[in-house]
Amino acid sequence: MKKYITLLALCCSAIPVWAVEAPLENIRVDTGTAAVKRGADTLMDVCHGCHTLKYIRYSDLASLGIDKKKIDDWRGVQSLDAPLTGQMSDDAAMQTFGKLPPDLSLMAKAREGGANYVYSYLIGYYNAAEGMTGNHIFPETKMPDVLGISGAADEAQRTEIQGKAREVVSFLYWAADPHEEERHRLGYCVIAYLFVLTTLLYFVKARIWSRLK
């Protein structure tokens, strides 16, 4: 069975080879609040025009520690408990793109490769023929190169855009699983407790079994 788990782990790591067109960039997601907040800025600026985040409310952004005034600007007349619905109507989206832009709440978990996929996709744009852009990771995409990586003039600008993409990914990573940090914190306590308990149970067992013979 141990072998089975190892094999399964190997299978999981082998997915990107066949699931996507080009190899994914591997990034370490910065889960710090600062990066998540900066990602929220970029996302509200660049992505939220077309994409919804229906499982995230403005109040969730407030509990992240984002400036109250900024949130008021974003939500306009909507209540603080309203979800981040898109600013584009479905009809308009269908007319512009021919399909609805997907909801982003779970995007960091909804693709093979997770956060690596989203990052690689965002920076995967290149200049194709006739002034069009293409994408290495998702060639059929209807989304324009919103971060402008294909038009980057030099390496410095490229690095800056990559930084922005990383922050957007940080935000989406948080949005997909807002309780992750809490889960890890609780996990350390639970497992530490179980280690102590199991050690004690071992000694109980050894003591009881020593009566035999």
């Binding site: 089975y4 699931a19 499982y55 779970l106 909804a110 996990g187 199991t198 009881i208």
Partner: protein, 418 residues
């Protein structure tokens, strides 16, 4: 020192004698290894799944317009809802892992042999119910893989002669997997665990009739049995601690490893995912299904690959005790089978290509060939072992077993003439 309440109950219900007979004084072979912990662990996971499942059901909505959202509601808004949900989703995998180890132990040590056939068969029934429960539960989040998995598997019933199409509609409650399917799967997913609990009671009653098997493969003399409590309660709880550490590492740190990314996309009947895969615990059987090019043949082969275990008490004709321990051929076959399962699991996971189809067919052939060869191999092996001269410990075991059989004629060994 019995208190008044216990006395009052004992006049009306055999509480003390039941506890004494079935728990505190229940004689258990002292030589059980840690491989014998997994039955208790399976019972524990069952309770864990029922407990977390009931609380999840309080917040879940079985409606195709609401179910995906209700899972996100549980994950984000319900107090510790994420913990309940991850315990339940990880618990499903833990259940199968524990059950597969439990079955592997039975196969390795030959615990299915007489007089424990009924234990093995009730266990087989429990495995089928567990598979059905897991399959139906997987539809409930109403993600892409939920929907398409249920579509592919219910579609297999098309292979039924004459009534195939009607049975598929009857199972789904509709022409496609839809709201009617979701509500009935939810109802049955809630019902089946209680049927499983009933099955476990039968399994345990059978166990307490024939008693635990043990690594020696024979029924031990009374002096080699020790009371279940405190010896095996303490041993089981220590094993439980180890299990919980592994389980919690997955629940708290890698809960998404066992959830397909595509299941984080709401079900969309208009868009088939590029690659539909079942959960890891179904992969070997799924590979058998795909290895046969014909639908009916594939379904029959898959059904047989799950049910073939039930024939083990008849397929294994050797009288050498101790299962694979004292039987080199059988041991080789056991490990070959284990590796074959891994290969099938891998083939079931990857998208079919020319090479994997051939590998899958070869592995499927080997899977059934091992079972088909067993009656001959086990008999030949027995003759060869006896001719070569058994080690004195095995001879002693067999002599002890023969003495027991003369005392209790119903304790027939597999391979004995009735």
């Amino acid at each position: 020192m019995k208190n008044k309440i216990v006395k009052w109950i004992d006049h009306r219900f055999p509480l003390t004698s039941f506890v004494k007979h079935e728990l505190t004084g229940y004689p258990t072979p002292r030589n059980l290894s840690y491989w014998w912990n997994f039955g208790f662990l399976a019972g524990f996971v069952l309770v864990l799944q029922v407990a977390t499942g009931i609380f999840l059901a309080m917040h879940y909505k079985a409606d195709i317009a609401l179910s995906f959202d209700s899972i996100q509601h549980i994950m984000r808004d319900v107090n510790y809802g994420w913990l309940l949900r991850f315990m339940h989703s990880t618990g499903a995998s833990a259940f199968f892992l524990v059950i597969y180890i439990h079955m592997a132990r039975t196969l390795y040590y030959g615990s299915y042999r007489a007089p424990r056939e009924l234990m093995w068969w009730t266990g087989q029934g429990l495995l089928l119910m567990l598979m059905a429960t897991a399959f139906m539960g997987y539809l409930l989040p109403w993600g892409q893989m939920s929907f398409w998995g249920a579509t592919v598997i219910t579609n297999l019933f098309r292979a039924t002669p004459y009534f195939g199409d009607q049975i598929v509609v009857w199972l789904r409650g509709d022409y496609t997997v839809g709201d009617a399917t979701l509500t009935r799967f939810f109802a049955l997913h809630y019902l089946f665990p209680f049927l499983i609990i009933g099955g476990v009671v039968v399994h345990l009653v059978a166990l307490h009739t024939v008693r635990s098997s043990n690594p020696s493969g024979i029924d031990l003399a009374d002096k080699d049995n020790i009371p279940f409590h405190p010896y095996f309660t303490s041993k089981d709880f220590y094993g439980l601690g180890i299990f919980l550490i592994v389980y919690c590492i997955f629940v708290f740190f890698f809960p998404n490893l066992l959830i397909e990314p595509a299941n984080n996309i709401p079900a969309n009947p208009m868009q088939t995912p590029t690659h539909i895969v079942p959960e890891w615990y179904f992969l070997p059987f799924y590979a058998v299904l795909r290895a046969v090019p014909n639908l009916v043949g594939g379904v029959v082969a898959m059904g047989l690959s799950v049910m073939v275990f039930a024939f083990m008490p008849y397929l294994d004709r050797s009288r050498i005790p101790g299962g694979a321990r004292y039987r080199p051929w059988y041991r080789a076959m056991f490990f070959l089978f284990a590796v074959d399962m891994l290969v099938l699991g891998y083939v079931g996971y990857v998208p079919p290509s020319n090479q994997t189809i051939v590998v899958g067919q070869a592995a499927t052939f080997l899977y059934f060939a091992l079972f088909a060869l067993l009656p001959f191999a086990s008999k030949k092996e027995e003759q060869w072992l006896i001719k070569r001269g058994l080690p004195p410990e095995v001879k002693a075991l067999m002599a002890g077993e023969a003495r027991e059989i003369s005392k209790f004629p119903h304790r027939r060994r597999s391979g004995d003439k009735p």
